[in-house]
């Protein structure tokens, strides 16, 4: 892989909390246009890995190398509930210093939030918050997207929107790391799948057109030999 293609490289990444290792010696590379689907049981280390990849958590050992800007969707929205959707995005726009006000309006439009843009986030439903979280993540026009359960709380139309976005990002040569339990919704959009078992990436393979059942069966097989 040439350096210019590389969007993300994790080398020997480990992370421990106290004496307990949550990630152990994780290494992989991701190029622009690739989508890595991370699967694992609860507590397997998906969220910790995504936080380490984002730079929010420092690895105990190992290195993470990223190129370009990052957009991240995590379990928490990172939004201010006392501000409106528009004010939240305007605030982040100022910090990213990345785009014009029109970009905020465009994202509100794409996410179907234009009509509710001046309402405080505290009054939003779970799905609306998740849409706004996606808008926040997309604000800096990121080259690398780290998505931790991005479909949580979304209705069918919003889930379709995210799937369409995943297809679009692939065409736009953006790299995506996606952790989800809703395999069936996204598996055909992923180029690779990483099987995370007890903090280790047991295998990282091309999806090769496999469906959710085949990937789940493969995960069980890998998890059973720990």
């Amino acid at each position: 892989m040439s350096e210019s293609d590389m969007a993300l490289r994790a080398t020997g990444v480990s992370r421990r909390f106290g004496y307990r290792y949550v990630l152990k010696d994780v290494s992989f590379e991701l190029r622009g246009g690739e989508t890595l689907l991370l699967i694992g049981h609860n507590g397997a280390g998906k969220t910790t890995l995504i936080r380490v990849l984002s730079g929010l958590l420092k690895p105990t050992s190992g290195t993470v190398h990223r190129t370009g800007s990052i957009g991240m969707v995590a379990h928490d929205s990172m939004l201010y509930e006392s501000l409106s959707a528009r004010e939240n995005l305007q605030f982040y726009r100022k910090l990213y210093a990345c785009c014009e006000t029109a970009r905020v309006e465009e994202l509100l439009q794409i996410m179907g939030l234009s009509e509710h843009a001046d309402r405080r986030v505290a009054t939003y439903s779970r799905g609306m918050v998740q849409r706004l979280t996606l808008a926040r993540a997309l604000l800096p026009d990121p080259q690398l997207l780290l998505l931790d359960e991005p479909l949580t709380g979304l209705d069918d139309s919003a889930s379709c929107l995210v799937r369409d976005m995943l297809v679009g990002w692939r065409a736009e040569n953006r790299a995506v790391v996606l952790a989800t339990h809703q395999l069936a919704d996204v598996v055909e959009l992923a180029s690779h799948v990483g099987y995370l078992v007890a903090g280790r990436v047991r295998a990282l393979e091309s999806t090769d057109g496999r469906d959710a059942h085949a990937i789940t069966a493969r995960y069980r097989e890998l998890a059973s030999v720990v």
Binding site: L56, M72, D76, M78, L79, Y80, E81, L83, Y96
Partner: protein, 227 residues
């Protein structure tokens, strides 16, 4: 100061003040606390034994510091909501800009609380603060900068702990002691009409604390917010 640092600070401070303006959570509790402390000090004194000027400087600074502490606590607690602090840290802004923004927001908040508390103080203790307002403003500004800078850093430090609201006063009080002693001594002199140049020693000390506290907190903030 780079434009990025300054624009980050202004954006963060404006956001914090906008949230406080809407919710008024810290402001309301600070003001209730200020009135309560002034009332307690007022009624605890026997006017035939203790003059109001004997108690006034202590009452003023207890009011200022503890009312301010309620606001300082709030500064990073609102970043804990929905892990908004992560959102800030993901942006490519200098982290020291976030600290400066928080410091700026806290200074505005504490200044407003002090501006409202001062006439109340004058009313409760029947002290004419207006004859020496510039001197009092100078001392208040110097002491406020010292304790708000440390308070802002410590607020960031304790925000991830389970008992953040309890931890802040415990950690902050030892740092508050030297500047507050200086402020109380100088305020006592100002209120009885002594000239400010009699207190240059205390003012130099307050100035030294300001420079040291702001510089150290500015430098330490990066590692404070790292997980």
């Amino acid at each position: 100061m780079s434009s990025s640092l300054w624009s980050t600070a202004v954006a963060v401070a404006a956001k914090d003040l906008k949230i406080e303006w809407r919710t008024k959570t810290a402001f309301a509790s600070s003001m209730v606390f200020a009135v309560l402390v002034l009332a307690v000090f007022y009624f605890s004194r026997d006017p035939s034994v203790v003059t109001s000027l004997d108690v006034a400087p202590a009452a003023l600074w207890v009011t200022f510091t503890f009312a301010a502490m309620l606001g300082l606590n709030r500064a990073f607690l609102l970043e804990r909501e929905n892990r908004a602090l992560d959102g800030l840290l993901l942006t490519p802004v200098p982290r020291s800009g976030i600290f400066l923004g928080k410091l700026l927001g806290n200074l505005v908040f504490v200044t407003v609380v002090e501006l409202i508390s001062l006439p109340l103080f004058a009313l409760f203790f029947n002290v004419n603060v207006f004859h020496a307002l510039p001197e009092l403003a100078l001392v208040t500004a110097m002491a406020t900068l010292a304790f708000v800078s440390v308070g802002t850093l410590l607020s960031a430090m304790v925000v991830r702990t389970r008992f953040a609201e309890l931890m802040l006063p415990i950690l902050l009080l030892p740092f508050l002691l030297p500047p507050i002693v200086g402020a109380v001594q100088t305020t006592a002199g100002i209120l009885v009409g002594r000239p400010l140049n009699e207190f240059t020693g205390w003012l130099k000390l307050l100035g030294a604390f300001d420079i040291a506290f702001v510089a150290v907190c500015f430098l330490l903030f990066d590692s404070t917010v790292e997980e």
